[in-house]
Subunit: 324 residues, 4 copies
């Protein structure tokens, strides 16, 4: 129904509201602002809501902090702390339960390298618990991590690799990090979505990912995603919408006719754009020019947030010395 490419629950809801002018049934929404961070908690609590949203029932928490682009270190730290706090609302850690963090995506493609970048900066401790338990500091929990690569690199479904590792490591919880597509350029690298429902098939910047969830892995799966691209067709669509609005406002001659364009079915228009963009679609991405730097910043924020969540007593500034 809402076929424009978005992985964010907040965007699906926005699209619905724009068209229907009402809240989605079976969905509860709570919005708060804390300093420069906007927190939207979407709970899909009924099947009907899940159908409309195209996402499983559960919690979808979104942190929006546009200031991240200005590289303010205090905001970086606040976002990390807020992320840790929101994670601890939907999942609990203790020294007896092991967390496996999975960094999804392709390390050779900048906007898809978010997951591997995050796992690289985590404080990994499971092996210390196993081999040198007396050296474990208080307030640290067992954490291990893997970046399984993508199908084109390994020839193996990401889901298969993770299932294989889970069957050996037997973690109590999986946290999966993924790069997402957004409808809006301003969300790239500034919005973080947490979901306690895992990863749906086909989400993410890389197409064709398999489901990672309690159903497929046998343990709870928390997904953390950040938009790193806008799909080119979506952007073109948004540009046309805004342009038609602008032309009407500017009282261009022929104003009544543009209404035709505005009143076209969304679906029809999007399909037309895709045809026009063909053969690029699926390969083209729109990113800010400084995407390399943005990925570094946001992956640092995610890693810090996870380190605070998973090792509550460790001072964030000392985490680095535990990192390989």
């Amino acid at each position: 129904m809402f076929s424009k490419k978005t992985d964010l629950a907040v965007e699906t809801r926005e699209l619905y509201q724009e068209q229907k002018q009402q809240e989605i049934p079976g969905v509860r929404v709570d919005v708060t602002e804390e300093g420069d961070i906007k927190i939207t908690r979407v709970e899909i609590f009924e099947k009907k809501g899940a159908e409309i949203m195209g996402k499983p029932m559960g919690n979808y928490i979104t942190l929006e902090a546009p200031g991240i682009k200005k590289r303010d270190k205090d905001l970086f730290e606040n976002v990390s702390r807020t992320l840790a706090r929101e994670l601890s609302r939907i999942s609990r850690t203790d020294t007896d339960s092991t967390t496996l963090v999975v960094g999804l995506g392709n390390w050779n493609v900048t906007p898809d390298s978010l997951g591997p970048e995050v796992t690289d900066s985590l404080m990994i401790t499971r092996h210390v618990f196993e081999y040198l338990p007396e050296q474990v500091d208080e307030g640290v929990t067992p954490v291990c991590a893997i970046s399984p690569g993508v199908l084109g690199i390994t020839g193996i479904e990401t889901g298969e690799i993770i299932q294989g590792v889970v069957s050996r490591v037997k973690p109590d919880r999986v946290v999966a990090i993924d790069a997402l597509a957004s409808r809006k350029m301003e969300r790239v690298s500034t919005t973080i979505q947490i979901a306690d429902t895992g990863i749906s098939p086909g989400s993410g910047v890389g197409s064709g990912r398999k489901e990672l969830s309690r159903e497929t892995l046998g343990v709870p799966v928390i997904a953390i995603g950040v938009p790193t691209v806008v799909d080119a067709a979506t952007m073109a669509n948004d540009v046309i919408d805004k342009m038609v609005d602008a032309m009407i406002q500017q009282a261009h001659k022929g104003q009544e006719f543009f209404e035709v364009l505005r009143n076209m079915q969304e679906e029809e228009k999007y399909t037309l754009i895709k045809e026009v963009l063909n053969p690029y679609v699926g390969n083209l991405v729109v990113t800010p020019k400084e995407i390399d730097q943005l990925i570094k910043d946001i992956s640092g924020i995610l890693a810090n947030g996870l380190n605070i969540f998973l090792h509550p007593s460790v001072d964030p500034k000392d985490v680095d010395r535990y990192i390989n």
Copy 2:
């Protein structure tokens, strides 16, 4: 006049012809095809042509090889050899004349890193001529290279750095490599433009570059450029044009009205799109998802072509052993 962002002479000419249905006065054009490579030689020989094209008088040679995207190694080699041959048509090398290759662009921004990538793979020999002249192989000419970075990295105008180096090294020729913007996504990483007129101010993926030419450097400057991005506004514009055409063809209701859009002044429409895309414009780039790989491939092709041009007697497969 032709304000849509393009650095390619062939595209400026195309735009002119689309609108005026005739060749640009003061410009000679010669098109040939060799296997999978299309070669367009544009010569601007009169002031009038230079004014319309917005480029100085001189030679602009374009190699187009869409097959590069399929990663065919034979084609890679053919393009390198064709590049070397076209270079030797507009410039001559011998063992008594030194070439300084300048790799323009920002190595931290993937689509702008073409220049530095090329200089990294050149066979550098000037110091051997200077310190171990007896070790110089036949058919090798003195080559040195520098990647001066960009203003945001160094705090120094690229042109100043190059002038400083030129004043010391006193080369007989400068070859400047740069990443360009194209109007067409299919040109990204598949089209190479050679010009014997140097680099114009403000060209390139990075904005605000200074002129590099015989006027500013005192020696001939050959520019080699490859499109690595499409500017987002240009892409949106093209999508809208194609879409309107498509709608008219599909006999949509209101067909006569879309003609309004089609008949809008190019300039007016582009300005409108820019407003709509604001505040992104200038930062947003559209690239193929696999841009990291494409930059590696095309910079290898350029470096090989330059190595063949500058060291005619060295077997390309042995070049690597000369590379630091």
Copy 3:
């Protein structure tokens, strides 16, 4: 018995011969030279030989090509082809059997990054067999690959990850790539060892690796290793040995006394050096300064060799287009 740090069967044998002046019992050795490549095939066929060598019974083939350091591309190709041929002597590939290539080592530590570098350049095909079997070219076999990282990065034993993946993928053969330690600096990046006995515990540049063998994985394991470091204690030891020899030859006064040093038990001397080097030992490595380049070269040679072995009908120069 032969405790000096070496992972190479040819070196263990050399050490034995230096001391005992005879061939190791239960071991067959065959040496040939082909152009600039020396091939030593060591077969341990009796338990006694295995005990003395400290390695399991099986085949150990060593290719030595010191010319690799001169970066001669023809030699690179010859070594790749010889590697492919020697691999096909001890293992057979066909379109019905799947190969899992495992790139051992730490991608953040240059001399330990050989394995991950090799898997990055392989032609991966298993997913094409699975999802687009009609697109599979003739002479291609199903290949998948994984770089599992190291304990400090993942918190998970490498062996566990591989066992997990093997249990899902069910390959017919595992090929494990690893960086080794050598006794001799001249072997770094110029010697390749192939073994059909898998990886022994504790081998490799990274300490504490677990066994990877038919016993632990249930399928044949071919190990391919290349020395990338010399351990600092070993080098110091060799220097002292050579120095003592040199001093005696130079008829230094006190010559008889140096014989004391020469006649010290190897073990005793090595322990002493280790004490002296303490607390560095285990962390210090001796490498050529240009190790970054050497790793790139030799991993390219290995990847090409494996591509030829696994996809016999594909022209090496076209392999790149299959690589993600």
Copy 4:
């Protein structure tokens, strides 16, 4: 006289004292400890001292903080602040004087990449002073930076490039960052030397560097160096020394004879080792295995120290947003 490879004034002095049991004439030394940082200020104030030390007259300040290897972030920050303070003792910055920072070394060779890594993390402001002077914050001074590469990469003497840039930029001060060789492994990445005498010819990890000093550049040159390697011959020599001591202490039979070795002329012994290590010498380096990480850490410390020194009113944690 003191031919063992060291670039550190403190080490030259140590060697002298070991042999002569007295302070070098014409040299003043002041040692203080502040927390975990040892500061040694060596002033060569007479020609005689300069001759013995093999270094020009001037100030050589050494910070030693072995704790850096433990990756303690508080210590990182303390070292940065101490570096800034010591720099401001020997040089003054203000908003009217421009600093050019030069990052010496080869970015493709990990232990030689210190200089380029530091310049990459500096807060560059000269262009803001020039083009947007109204946007300059208080307490910021004009800074520009360049990493000129090495002879093998550019074909141009580093000194020539810097002279060319200095002639254009006309800075009031040059700060040159360089990777050094040390005699002692424990100094690698934990010792920082500041000198107000510039860079001497032939110093640094890369051999054959030209002099950078007030004489060659016309403005004061501050050199900041950090040992990143130990030369292999030096290490072997130290091992032998320590080993002989250890053997004597352990009352090994033949104890009197080892005294021969101990009493050999330093020079004679070093020459012997070099012969023995030949043909490796000059190429072989000994580094900690985790050198990649150590370079990142120490270059961050240097960049922060320079940012504090050059932009006294900017909060270090906000520096990042000024960086490219």
